[in-house]
């Protein structure tokens, strides 16, 4: 998976590069709009992360030039939470946008959503350790035992299982499970995770659903019992 980051702010560009590289992406960085335009047109990328506010050639100009030749998926980063910026970005052919300050996990989730679109059909059966999930029948088993989950609990489990090993932020979970795309003060996700955990992990070993403090939740098999509560 190859990604181009067009970002002039050095700290932002550096942590994005490092973070995405550690997530398994091949990362190129352009430090201004002109380089960004050149690289986006010259090389093949699976997805481009494009800052709006760039010195010289701004993000919209880069996007415009890109869209005349290519349909590479683009996520715009905007510091201004203004509708016209977003509307303009989407109209000019951006596939998604994130408003600064954004969380890194959020960006990863969006990148994956964008690149997944082209990745064809997913498996309908998922298996993690002794956990077995049938997405079609909306049923789950652990150690051969059927888990008695409500619809939302199942949706949460499926969301986490589909992205096995990825940390999902609360915002992403709220969006995937409840189709809620705004921040709110509620601890709905915590409560839901707690309930899921009582059915998924409490009666069984090993623990699969882990809390990553300050970041979110991940479903995976871990060797040592670490930081979950």
């Amino acid at each position: 998976m190859k990604v181009l980051i067009v970002e002039d702010e050095p700290k932002t560009a550096d942590y994005l590069e490092r973070g995405l590289r550690e997530q398994g992406y091949v990362v190129d960085v352009a430090r201004d709009g002109l380089d960004g335009k050149h690289m986006a047109l010259e090389y093949e990328y699976d997805v481009i992360v494009l800052d709006v506010m760039l010195p010289g050639t701004d993000g919209f100009t880069v996007l415009h030039a890109l869209r005349e030749q290519r349909q590479t998926p683009v996520i715009m980063l905007t510091a201004r939470d203004r509708v016209d910026d977003r509307v303009r970005g989407l109209r000019e052919g951006a596939d998604d946008y994130l408003v600064k300050p954004f969380s890194f996990l959020e960006l990863v989730a969006r990148l994956q959503a964008l690149t997944r679109r082209s990745r064809g059909q997913e498996a309908m059966q998922l298996r993690i350790a002794d956990l077995q999930i049938d997405l079609l029948a909306r049923k789950a088993w652990r150690n051969g035992q059927r888990l008695d989950l409500t619809a939302k609990e199942f949706a949460l489990l499926a969301a986490l299982a589909r992205r096995k090993g990825e940390i999902l932020s609360k915002t992403t979970i709220a969006e995937l499970v409840w189709d809620v795309n705004f921040d709110s003060d509620t601890n709905v996700v915590e409560v839901a995770v707690k309930r899921l955990r009582s059915k998924l992990d409490d009666p069984f070993k090993p623990t699969l659903l882990h809390t990553v403090r300050g970041m979110g939740y991940v479903l995976e098999v871990r060797d040592e019992q670490g930081e979950d509560a």
Binding site: R82, A174, V180, N181, V188, G214
Partner: protein, 454 residues
Amino acid sequence: MKLSISKRLAAMFAVASFVVLSVLGVAMHGLLKRELERHQSNELQARWTMYRPMVMRNDDAVHWAIVRTKFDNSISENNRVSLWVQGPDSHFRYGSPLTEEQQRSIGTHGFGQVLLPGHEAPLKTYSADVEARGERPRVRLTVGIDSTPFVETLHAFTVGLVALTIVGALGAAGLGYYIARVGLRPLDQLSGEARGLSPGHLSRRLQTDTLAPELSELAESFNGALSRLETAYQQLEAFNADVAHELRTPLGNLIGQTQVTLSRERSVTELKEALHSNLEDLERLRAIVNDMLFLARADRGERAPNRIEVSIAQEVSHAVEYLEFIFEEAGVKVRIEGDAQASIETSLFRRAVTNLLQNAVQHAPRGAEIVVFVLQQPGAIRVSVQNAGSGIAREHLSRLFDRFYRVDSSRSGSRENHGLGLAIVRAVATMHGGTVFAESDDGATTIGFTVASA
């Protein structure tokens, strides 16, 4: 270039008086000229009548010599006068010979004029025939008067008029400037007072009672604007203080924790723990900043851009579904009553309802019921969330929607709830052309908002 009002008025006064004086001057000049001409004509006719009998009486060559003498005397007595007698017989003639050009300008009968060498102004003439008598044939008697005095009089008068007009206009300008300055003095007073206004003295207003009625109205509207500004300014100040306070706590935690962590060698687990803890605070900061940006959008007057026509009850039920687990935990039930169709931006609307429900569930006792009423009113749809509970004191009700406002000033529970929930409800209402409201009595609290309907 911008002229001051006083200078502009002075210039206008000057132009106006110049025009009036000029018109008057031209009229008077015309009148005087006509009078002078009439006077001249009368004199000419009188002189002609005076000289005619002399020409009439003397009808032979001998007596004609008397005419010559008398005419010579008369001319030498009064050098303004010229006389000509013209006729076919050269014996009965008088006066210097005239060129054809001069003859033409005198004419044969009535008034005329002629320019003689040595004179600046032309002579005015009057000619008429005298009947033949005795030896004398019919002759033409022409009397001429030098018009120099008249022309000089008219000239002097014209110069005087022009000078008076200019002086008058200048005088009017000066006087006008003075009058304008005096008339505009209340304005100076007003601007002096306005200069005294500053952010340090927000409650100061312009004095309106001493002002002229024209200005006091202006000053009053200005005072109105000042009042609104004062309110906004105070809100902003309070808001800034609140923001600083809200951000200070997590920032302090971040700095302190990081310093403590770095002051010793730490294990990876400890370092991880510190980073996680930092991340929690940072996420909180991010949430606050994002919410503030959202509120700023509403403050700028931005309207909900992506509206679609939907069932309000259905949107409310989405929000209820989202919070379902919370309700179960808190042991409360939620009921939706009524429905209406409205054009709204669904994610904004759900966010507002979610915040209202969240607020209600925090205040409702276990086992209580929360009711969401959807009511179609003229021009607006009213969405209200009612929960049983201890009620909210009146002094808090109006401020519930203020940013960072918490009924319990101890700011307990600020970990999860950073105090912007209801402010966001108000922002969403504003973005949909609506308002917010809150009512409370002993038994129940109702908080809600409206959205404009088509």
